[in-house]
Subunit: 238 residues, 6 copies
Amino acid sequence: MRNNNRQNNEKREVNFKLDVNIHAEGAVLVSFGQTKVICTASVDDKAPPFLRGENKGWVTAEYAMLPRATNVRNVRESIRGKLSGRTMEIQRLVGRALRSVVDLTKLGERSIIIDCDVIQADGGTRTASITGGFVALKLAVNKLIEEGIISENPIKEYLAAISVGVCDGETILDLEYEEDSKAEVDMNIVMTEKGNFVEIQGTGEETTFTDEQLFEMLAYAKKGINELIRQQKEVLGE
Amino acid sequence: MRNNNRQNNEKREVNFKLDVNIHAEGAVLVSFGQTKVICTASVDDKAPPFLRGENKGWVTAEYAMLPRATNVRNVRESIRGKLSGRTMEIQRLVGRALRSVVDLTKLGERSIIIDCDVIQADGGTRTASITGGFVALKLAVNKLIEEGIISENPIKEYLAAISVGVCDGETILDLEYEEDSKAEVDMNIVMTEKGNFVEIQGTGEETTFTDEQLFEMLAYAKKGINELIRQQKEVLGE
Amino acid sequence: MRNNNRQNNEKREVNFKLDVNIHAEGAVLVSFGQTKVICTASVDDKAPPFLRGENKGWVTAEYAMLPRATNVRNVRESIRGKLSGRTMEIQRLVGRALRSVVDLTKLGERSIIIDCDVIQADGGTRTASITGGFVALKLAVNKLIEEGIISENPIKEYLAAISVGVCDGETILDLEYEEDSKAEVDMNIVMTEKGNFVEIQGTGEETTFTDEQLFEMLAYAKKGINELIRQQKEVLGE
Amino acid sequence: MRNNNRQNNEKREVNFKLDVNIHAEGAVLVSFGQTKVICTASVDDKAPPFLRGENKGWVTAEYAMLPRATNVRNVRESIRGKLSGRTMEIQRLVGRALRSVVDLTKLGERSIIIDCDVIQADGGTRTASITGGFVALKLAVNKLIEEGIISENPIKEYLAAISVGVCDGETILDLEYEEDSKAEVDMNIVMTEKGNFVEIQGTGEETTFTDEQLFEMLAYAKKGINELIRQQKEVLGE
Amino acid sequence: MRNNNRQNNEKREVNFKLDVNIHAEGAVLVSFGQTKVICTASVDDKAPPFLRGENKGWVTAEYAMLPRATNVRNVRESIRGKLSGRTMEIQRLVGRALRSVVDLTKLGERSIIIDCDVIQADGGTRTASITGGFVALKLAVNKLIEEGIISENPIKEYLAAISVGVCDGETILDLEYEEDSKAEVDMNIVMTEKGNFVEIQGTGEETTFTDEQLFEMLAYAKKGINELIRQQKEVLGE
Amino acid sequence: MRNNNRQNNEKREVNFKLDVNIHAEGAVLVSFGQTKVICTASVDDKAPPFLRGENKGWVTAEYAMLPRATNVRNVRESIRGKLSGRTMEIQRLVGRALRSVVDLTKLGERSIIIDCDVIQADGGTRTASITGGFVALKLAVNKLIEEGIISENPIKEYLAAISVGVCDGETILDLEYEEDSKAEVDMNIVMTEKGNFVEIQGTGEETTFTDEQLFEMLAYAKKGINELIRQQKEVLGE
């Protein structure tokens, strides 16, 4: 049996807390069970150098964990002097996912940086970052529209992410750390409200998986993402 | 007039929130007004290399700010690839201050790392880090004692820190960012419950200050630190 | 029409050239069309530190491109002083993929490092690296067996990788750079000879994709990987 | 008894040797006993980026020690690849102190960089750096005035620094390394010729200090700084 | 006796393979026996910053070895995060040597970067890099002339390099790794087709050498370089 | 005419000042005209890791310039975060040269580090570093012998270095910066008291040189090195 009597296709309790930062253009503290991530959106009035003069904007993301977000304390990446491969992989994923639902030309020549800082980790920090990051992004975009800085909504549709995996031969949704650490297969899915895929990343470390397992994982993920998008809309008042 | 009708010798509303981390041996979210810092204490069962075999322990601190803790977003130090001089100065100060009230031989051959991560900044992040860091340290030490890992309390007395400065010619206590950025003199004081100094760091950038100003600043700081220590004791149930 | 009159589900001409290095325990120059990668396997008689004393081995990979492997010259990562996120992502993927078909306990306390150096790039360097890296790994393992250093074959089954994508609305197999750079969806699949998945990484940058597109891409990839594994067996004399 | 029969409130023999560099706009070899620091002032015709267009200049400092300036050889920071926290703290202090007596608008849009390189260390290298750095700065400013590059003297008053501490319970002035390494309290004071404070940095590592000790240290420092400023004026021919 | 019955003044079999890269403006795979280096020339339409506006161009070189180019695998410099002293020394030498025969004003405001990547090493990688680098440079220059981008040939004369040394008291030409590793004296000579020196670098590690040995080494080198230049001309069709 | 009426084969005034450091095992301030280098020798009681257990020692060197040693201030390498190619080339040369006259087995399992810090530069800093470094090394070795730590003198013979070049078509000895910066050929020669070569490094940047020029340069260097060794012996009291 899973913790808190969760069904295999049942996600953890998810919560979005707004108004957690007086400075940022958008901010939310998202929690997937004990995983807690502060997501802020910062608007910069310049496009990145590679887009200058192209009359479009950019959305990017950065990801980090506080040293004691995890059970064993991690050395800070600022002290190591470089980002780990894991951090780079995650922040590239978050940025790419968010850009997939943004019409960058409607954003104008500006950048929105989504910072995802994991305050406490218990599995699924990257899917929480994408899901919370979308909320922070939406808040910042709403602000740009309200202030008349942009006229058209650049966000094409809602987007969320969830993890799914195979653990002791069973397909399960939204893995906690304890499940994740012993899973045979670990997959992260990013989908839009229309049910289309943005990203599928499935890995069998030291093992493989079948078509059937893949399809079941996709079905669980779809269910979870629908629920997440419903909650995002609720907290954003739509 | 200061914000919130504060008197010159009146500190901001200070709050300590416990139970903010399921992993750390001690954790507190300290707020001095809008300045919010998560302080965690992590116990490591090894002394640092330079103390091996000396039968004593160590207390050290690390300090960082989330990129959007400030009004203008900061580039992460992990991306710059190195700590700024400011960060190093602050974390050396926090560690040194905390060690001044710890009997390191009573700690045994172990290290306690105090992580001070600024979630939101509005002036006084280093004094909040010391004041909150002490609470996290005390919680971790209490746990070590409860679990029978150490037998004697290594903490000699309570300790807190506060900033004081001269702004428009007036001495004021516990500066907000807006005050800090225009202050003629900026001073940070660390004191113990017995009223002794641990650290005095006073600076006149592009100006100087007199004996009289120094003495008034010391008096204000003493008052503020007494109040902070009273609050620390309260939240720690003493 | 695709270059060289390729069908949508047809991979490029793939070639494995052995005996390209007098020093390495295994070496192959793999080419997928104009993409050319030197893969060497180096056996190190120590397991990595995190496995010491666990009586098992490790397989890892490193990836790099010569500066002029691409049409526009790239600055060397040694001069930048750090690996890019892209490099880290790829080499983590290659290592993880190869480990999925190795019984690490049968390898004993040793490491095999697969170096994948792209001599010339034209799309699909990561899938060529996995596919060629497997051949280098197999050669090194054969050598260890021949020399009596290990007694049982630690390689559980063959493995190869191929890219698949959606370009101008059509699903295509094994994308060249020109196709890759304008593809709506880009997916890399790693599979074993039994037809199981090891890794699925599908991304729609600035777009999304449907279930139907996913299934067609998976089918194309399966076909391509079967052909690659047939070629691997041929060149390895099985 | 202190070395060389020094009284507790007596500084070491201090010497300023001019004309030690044919290239620099200002240069002095300052010695506080066996502590020897080469201070050079380099004028750069640009203000730093953060001041461009503000019609004012900047004074900054850098600090380093030769590897064998100390009894045990230190690894070079160029080889470590980064500055230590100690170095950054010191060079920030030196720059800040010197700026406090400079009217930056009278300097015009240019920078003066004070390099403090410790040739031999025996305690008090930061106070020697400030005291000698002031002389190098004054020489460079004199040259700018003589050459008609600036018309008004931007230096508002003389400035010097000295260390003071508590050692075996006694307050002492200008600590040698041997005294410094066992001191209970270590304090560095920067003052101007009018007797105002620029910087007070007092620290009790693993201990605390009282109001009385603070006041005695301040009195000793005042005496020492008066003497240093008299010597600076003499060597500069005022 | 030397390997392959080589005489003391006989170089190894040297080969130049053209058309090894579809992207570069010039490319050659040069082999000196088992030493194999890919040399590519990349034309950049900008002069380096220190030459901007001087109406002349620049030629520079970069050098690297694949990790398993050597018998024992080397850690990548991209992972170490910095170039070794050896790499810097070699690439500075290669660039300087090539520039000595180029009239940089005839090149116009552009840069040519010669990348020398050692695929397999067996001694003499720096002399192979210079000798092959010249061929790549010449190919790129020919292309610039053919395309009418430059009108006059900036290459003043041919140039090649070879190693020479003293091993067991005998002077030998073009040392293999095995000879190099036990040589008493190691010397690299760069000469032009007119028989003039460009660079002489002779070193006795843990030993010294006499005038007579120097003169014999120079004579052997001259012979070898003449042969190399004859081969360069042949492969370049002159 | 050269500065100070120097003849073409005449070196600058050279001076060795001993007793310039109270901490180091050997120390000298060497000056070649306006070029001034502090050379210290530090004895470390461990051999470097690659020699452990081989019953022999090591001699190595490090080289740096103070930022204002030159006419235009240089950025510190500690701030750049890495050594330049030039620095690495020089310190490798200095170490290699000094080792050539040391019997490392007679040194025992210890290291001697020669630090060459250029206080003021006017051409020839690397030859001054070798020549002064030898004196520091000899002083440290003498001390080891006096203290009975080693019994036999590991220094086989004296050694010095000097630069020579071709400037406006004339061969000249010991180039000042002004000569060096316009020289057609620049050569550094390291020789022993017996007149044997340790190192020859001759370079024609953007030009070439003939046999005749080479021989004249070697003759001038020999003369200069003989004179330097005579001075070394004098200052060392032999």
